[in-house]
């Protein structure tokens, strides 16, 4: 129904504005329904303004900024209707170390309400998870799954970078 959709849209919009500010450490964002259209048909437009920059069309954002804005929107949708389980497949790949840290801080807040399966190459994401599963192909072409502790993770599963001095 129309009322239900509009109520959900308003909720997601508020949450997106809040989570965006946390993800970017400032700035602002907004969602707008297509002007003049029936809410049940209207398109949804996303605006984002990283801190210190001008409010602009999402397409001008960088690869990492787009990914972080998308993560904020996905968590905002979660607030509207929390699915019990979620799978995030390498959402941290475009992010630099600082933004991986912000992503993990937001993720940690949902940890009690939602179970997450997070596929990643980033060490920091592995370090902050509750359990780690290694997938290997000891015999070529055949996948095997092992439960691992952080210190057992073979290092070629990760990519090298470094955190702030």
């Amino acid at each position: 129904s129309r009322e239900k959709f509009v109520a959900t849209f308003e909720l997601v919009r508020e949450e997106f504005q809040r989570i965006f500010r946390e993800a970017f450490g400032g700035g602002q964002a907004d969602l707008k329904l297509q002007a003049g259209a029936d809410p049940l048909d209207a398109g949804i437009y996303v605006y984002a303004q990283p801190p210190g920059k001008k409010m602009e069309h999402l397409s001008l954002l960088s690869g990492g900024e787009k990914a972080l804005a998308a993560i904020a929107l996905i968590f905002a949708l979660f607030n509207a209707r929390p699915a019990p389980f979620a799978i995030l497949d390498e959402v941290d790949a475009p992010l630099d170390e600082n933004n991986i840290g912000r992503f993990l801080k937001i993720l940690a807040r949902y940890r009690d309400a939602v179970q997450f399966m997070v596929i990643t190459h980033a060490r920091r994401t592995m370090e902050e998870s509750d359990a780690i599963y290694g997938v290997t192909m000891e015999r070529r072409g055949i996948s095997k799954v092992l439960s691992l502790k952080m210190q057992e993770v073979p290092l070629e599963f990760m990519e090298v970078a470094a955190a702030t001095p």
Binding site: D112, M117, V118
Partner: protein
């Protein structure tokens, strides 16, 4: 409602019965390129009723059945079961555990089971309708797709909001 296990047998790169157990919080899945991490995410979406082979990176559904390696023959069937716990009060089923199973043969037709009883796809869909795990789910973010929710056209983006409403 909690996710307990995903059992994969004959689906993509898993020719042997493989069980992945999930605890609370964040489970990181790690491993080198091509070892089968995203295939686990595909197994989850397939078992919940995904109808498009392309959405699971195949051309036809048959591509999803283990097609052999240099020294292991192909299989003729794929089967994935997902076990959820603490479902009473959340899903309209008897008891506290729910096992959803999908099985497919090379002929291409799929069979669905709930707690080992044969059901139709529509029954599986109805079961998960209000959980956020439905068709246009924001709860599964595919590899490389994190930006697609912000790059999508305004009307494509609606589907995520309708799922949350």
């Amino acid at each position: 409602m909690r996710l307990r296990t995903i059992d994969i047998f004959g689906f993509k790169s898993f020719p042997h019965r493989t069980r992945v157990e999930f605890g609370p919080g964040v489970s990181a899945v790690v491993g080198p390129n091509g070892c089968g991490k995203s295939n686990v995410a595909d197994a989850f979406r397939w078992a919940l009723g995904e109808q498009s082979a392309k959405a699971l990176r195949g051309d036809v559904m048959e591509d999803l059945i283990f097609n052999g390696t240099a020294d292991t023959p192909p299989l003729s069937m794929a089967e994935v079961s997902i076990t959820f716990g603490d479902v009473s009060g959340y899903l309209p089923v008897d008891g506290d555990e729910l096992v959803v199973t999908r099985r497919m043969y090379r002929s291409g037709e799929s069979h669905y089971f709930v707690n080992r009883q044969p059901v139709r796809l529509k029954d599986v869909r109805d079961l998960f309708a209000d959980t956020g795990l439905g068709k246009a789910s924001y709860a599964v973010v595919e590899q490389g797709m994190v930006e697609s929710i912000v790059k999508a056209k305004a009307d494509e983006r609606r589907a995520f909001f309708e799922e949350a409403a």
